[in-house]
């Protein structure tokens, strides 16, 4: 009893002394405490930023395309790379029957969803602007020939008027080229016929006679006039063929930003918003957007920036794309609007558009507004708009080039990856269209090809001995033998009615079983609890093996390929940065503690001389340090938390370039407090503070009271 009360008394004395010491040496306490608090603030901020970035990047990939686990055919030569690898698309062996894999995977406890995928690149044919306008007119002509020509056909008349205007613009454009051309050159003579054709296409007589033989008139325009317009071509599209309904459930990061989702069970495509911006948008509008972004986000000025000046110059010089879109009625309206908005009396549309796009730092915002408010409504800003059909083509697995038409339902953006050139370009297409493009070589098709070869009696001659085999003594003699034979065309053509009914195809609603049954390249697996990835992966492989399928299972990070690697690298850099901040903070705290304790050698010696035990003194130092750490560490934590929230309340840290956009998973980083990392960080700071004080204290104990009192410090 007496021992206990004596200890309590000692403890009370010890606490009183510690507090008295701390208060007595206010300056020292404040300096040491301030350093501890600062260290804690830095650590809290650093860890919450790192946490937010890590969670954001993980979510960006998991919610966009990665899921939690990816399965693909184990016989594949390449590893799966969802965002493409350094050598292009990975070559994967197909999963022949996705339905079977899905059924097997869903038997594994913890698996929530399995989504089929086929990622590939294809070409989207754009044609030149004339070809596109002529195609519209050809469709009108076809309709009129099939259904009869109505008395009034405003679309048909508008399309004709538009083409005539386009021909006029082209003629004006080429007139300059003709003026400087050498009339004796072969090129000029060769093209003179084309110029004459263009002259004809501008004349009223040609258009008055158009309806007499519309098909011949179209062919004249297509073959003689359109080739003079040297633009257009094709772009590449990267897409994932999938079950759109399941995809949207599994990947909340994929958001339809314009238009609507692909209706369940139907064919269609959602074009990547970034892809549309970069490749499908009217070039002048895209340049205006880029100038606006450069000015607002990066603080660049047209007056001082050569690139911005170049964009302005290109905009003022290249008004053709805009003018070609305007039919006569819209041209008049555009002139009226621009005259009013610019306060100009100019009547030439080309000069008005050029004046509008001639921007500087002073007028840019206003001109940008006028463009989008006045001119853009008269234009088609994107080559493809919601509701259009686009033709996508790709070399198929069976060797043939396949094409499909798909309706565009909308534009899709992947949250957090909006600016990533690798990940943000992705479009989403229905799995049926993907399967048509992929052209899986079915046994029936292989047999058909085999029969064709057999019928032709084709033999293979190796390149190395081709000359000897074909022209040597044993080779076939080039013996001329006259044998004219009639080609039985009707019989041969009887089997060529290969057109699929497009209307049927797009009106068709596929059942879930039809969507699942068939080939896929990989499958995204969504788990109930993503923390169980490592535990569930081998079970998925085993379940697939049980269903007779050899698959590889990889985590979302491995599957992310080049994006995953860059994410890993960024993560490492960030960890290293925070580690350095952490280490610096700890070194400062450590120094402060060591210095503070060593300063007290004299004081410790005095205490020892008047009878204080070593243990007592040591505990006293520890209590003082713990108290300082608790109070100031706590204050630092509160300050850190307040700063984190304050950054959040003010809109976060803005991303000023594409890498930061990817790191922040969006336009700004809103830091969030991660409880675990916050507690760990504060505990580490606290422990380091104690250890930093303890070591010099122990050293101080070893000094005899006499030596301690004799020393100056």
């Amino acid at each position: 009893m007496s021992t206990t009360s004596s200890r309590a008394r000692q403890g009370r004395i010890l606490l009183e002394m510690a507090m008295r010491n701390l208060v007595a040496s206010r300056v020292r306490t404040l300096v040491v405490g301030g350093i501890v608090a600062l260290g804690v603030v830095v650590v809290v901020l650093g860890s919450s930023l790192l946490d937010s970035i890590d969670v954001g990047m993980t979510r960006s990939i998991q919610d966009s395309l990665g899921g939690h686990v990816q399965l693909y055919n184990a016989a594949s030569r390449d590893p799966l790379a969802l965002y493409g690898g350094t050598m292009g698309e990975s070559v994967l062996e197909p999963i022949d029957d996705f339905a079977r894999l899905k059924a097997a995977a869903l038997t594994v406890p913890g698996v929530k969803q399995v989504v089929p995928m086929g990622i590939d690149q294809a070409m989207v044919s754009m044609g030149n602007v004339f070809d596109v306008a002529l195609e519209r007119l050809r469709a009108d002509v076809r309709r009129r020939l099939e259904q009869g020509a109505p008395a009034e056909d405003p679309d048909y008349e508008a399309h004709k008027a538009h083409l005539r205007r386009m021909a006029t613009l082209l003629q004006q454009e080429l007139r300059q080229a003709r003026e400087i051309a050498d009339e004796t050159s072969g090129v000029y003579k060769d093209r003179k016929a084309d110029f004459d054709a263009l002259e004809q296409a501008v004349q009223g007589g040609f258009w008055d006679q158009f309806d007499r033989d519309p098909l011949a008139s179209l062919e004249f325009l297509e073959n003689r006039v359109a080739p003079l317009s040297l633009d257009g071509g094709f772009t590449f599209i990267r897409y994932v063929g999938t079950d759109p309904e399941a995809f949207q459930k599994a990947f909340p990061g994929a958001q339809v930003v314009e238009g609507a989702s692909i209706p369940p069970g139907q064919r269609g495509v959602l074009l990547g918003k970034l892809y549309a911006e970069e490749w499908l948008k009217l070039r002048a509008a895209r340049r205006l957007d880029k100038i606006k972004e450069a000015r607002e986000l990066h603080g660049r000025k047209i007056a001082r920036d050569e690139e911005l000046q170049r964009w302005v110059k290109e905009n003022t010089g290249q008004t053709r794309d805009i003018l070609l879109q305007l039919d006569p009625v819209r041209t008049r309206e555009a002139v009226r609007r621009l005259q009013a908005a610019l306060g100009s009396r100019e009547t030439d549309p080309a000069k008005l558009v050029s004046a509008l796009l001639d921007t500087d730092d002073r007028n840019f915002d206003e001109r940008h507004r006028i463009f989008y408010a006045e001119l853009a409504p008269l234009l088609q800003l994107y080559t493809v708009k919601v509701g259009d059909f686009i033709t996508i083509k790709a070399p198929s697995r069976s060797g043939y080039v396949n094409s499909v038409n798909v309706p565009v339902y909308g534009f899709v953006e992947f949250r957090g990856l909006e600016r990533s050139a690798l990940a943000g370009m992705m479009s989403v297409m229905d799995v049926h269209s993907w399967r048509d493009l992929y052209g899986y070589l079915t046994p029936e098709r292989a047999a058909e090809i085999g029969k064709l070869k057999e019928r032709a009696g084709a033999t293979t001659v190796a390149r190395e001995d081709a000359e000897a085999a074909l022209f040597g003594d044993g080779g076939p003699a080039p013996a001329p033998s006259a044998a004219p034979r009639a080609v039985d065309e009707p019989a041969l053509l009887a089997g060529s009615s290969g057109r699929q009914s497009r209307e049927d195809l797009f009106g068709r609603r596929y059942t879930q079983a039809e969507t699942d049954a068939g080939v896929a390249l990989n499958a995204a697996v969504i788990l109930d609890d993503p923390r169980r990835i490592d535990e569930i992966m081998p079970k998925l492989v085993a379940a697939a093996a049980g269903a007779g399928m050899k698959v590889k299972a990889v985590t979302w990070l491995e599957a992310a390929g080049i994006v995953g690697q860059s994410m890993g690298l960024l993560r490492m850099v960030l960890y290293l940065a925070v580690l350095i901040i952490f280490a610096v903070a700890l070194v400062i705290i450590n120094n402060a503690m060591v210095m503070a304790t060593l300063q007290r050698v004299k004081e410790i010696g005095t205490m020892r001389a008047i009878g204080a035990q070593r243990r007592f003194v040591l505990v006293l130092v520890v209590v003082e340090v713990v108290t300082t750490g608790l109070v100031f560490g706590g204050l630092g934590s509160i300050l850190g938390i307040l700063i984190v929230h304050a950054v959040g309340w003010t809109g976060g840290i803005a991303a000023t370039n594409d890498t930061m956009y990817f790191l922040f998973s969006g336009p700004a980083l809103i830091p969030r407090l991660g409880t675990a990392s916050l507690v760990t960080s504060v505990v580490i700071v606290f422990l380091v503070s104690i250890l930093s004080a303890l070591y010099p204290a122990v050293l101080a104990m070893r000094v005899t009271p006499l030596e301690a009192m004799q020393s100056d410090d």
Binding site: L218, E448, K453, L470, D473, P476, L492
Partner: protein
């Protein structure tokens, strides 16, 4: 003194160095190739095409090739396999169009188009227009297997759009047909080597003479060494074709 006649005899009997074809003879040779292949009217051929590519399944087609000499029109219509039936190419003036009935759209293609994704070019199945498109130079006379041949170098004439700017031909001295052809890029790099081991001729009423055609063509890709294409002409018909055959509307109607 007896040695002199012997020396003279030896000189006469010694193999003479190959004598160069002069420019006029070279041009005549090339014009003759064009003339032999000219149909002088309409021409229709049933062809089999087979392309082998590295790590890929063979691509096989059966198609009809239509030609009309007068206005240099050309059309291919794919018949088999079923999935490819109805696709076609149409050449009108300098435009090469491709039609796919599955998507119902026409697309503009260039002279460098690989027909049906194979190593075949438009020119391989079209009428020969070598003298119009190229300037010829004699290079050498040599042997190709058991055949005596002229080796001729062709360079594309300015402002003519051809698939290959330089071509080398091995022409059979005996009957003037091309046995071997090398296609080179502008840089001089060898792109393709083609062999024409079997030639046939058919009677054409419109030409009032024979039309020659290579019954077998073997094309080896020199860039992707594993790739090769085989074209077999199964039959040729030289009777007049429908007047409106070389139009988009006609080709569309075939798959409607």
């Amino acid at each position: 003194m007896r040695i002199l006649p012997l020396l003279l005899l030896a000189l006469l009997l010694a193999p003479l160095p190959a004598r160069a074809l002069d420019q006029a003879a070279t041009d005549r040779l090339i014009r003759n190739i064009d003339e032999m292949e000219r149909s002088g009217g309409d021409y229709k051929a049933l062809a089999y095409m087979e392309a082998k590519e590295k790590d890929k399944t063979d691509v096989v087609y059966e198609l009809l090739a239509y030609r009309r000499s007068g206005d240099q029109k050309l059309m291919f219509l794919f018949l088999e396999p079923k999935s490819e039936a109805g696709k076609g190419y149409l050449r009108i003036e300098k435009n090469l169009w491709f039609y796919d009935p599955r998507v119902g759209r026409w697309e503009r293609r260039t002279e460098r188009e690989r027909i049906g994704g194979t190593d075949t070019r438009r020119g391989d199945l079209d009428e020969s227009r070598l003298s119009e498109e190229y300037a010829a130079t004699w290079e050498a006379d040599e042997k190709l297997g058991k055949f005596e041949v002229h080796r001729i170098l062709l360079n594309a004439r300015p402002e003519v759009d051809v698939a290959f700017p330089t071509v080398r031909l091995w022409v059979n001295k005996e009957n003037g047909v091309v046995l071997k052809r090398q296609d080179l890029a502008l840089s001089g790099r060898l792109m393709r080597t083609a062999y024409y081991p079997r030639w046939k001729k058919v009677r054409s009423e419109s030409k009032k003479g024979d039309v020659w055609f290579a019954e077998e063509m073997r094309i080896y890709d020199e860039v992707e060494k594993a790739n090769q294409t085989l074209i077999l002409i199964k039959s040729v018909d030289t009777r007049p074709l429908e007047a409106n055959l070389f139009t988009k509307a006609w080709l569309e109607s075939k798959s409607r």
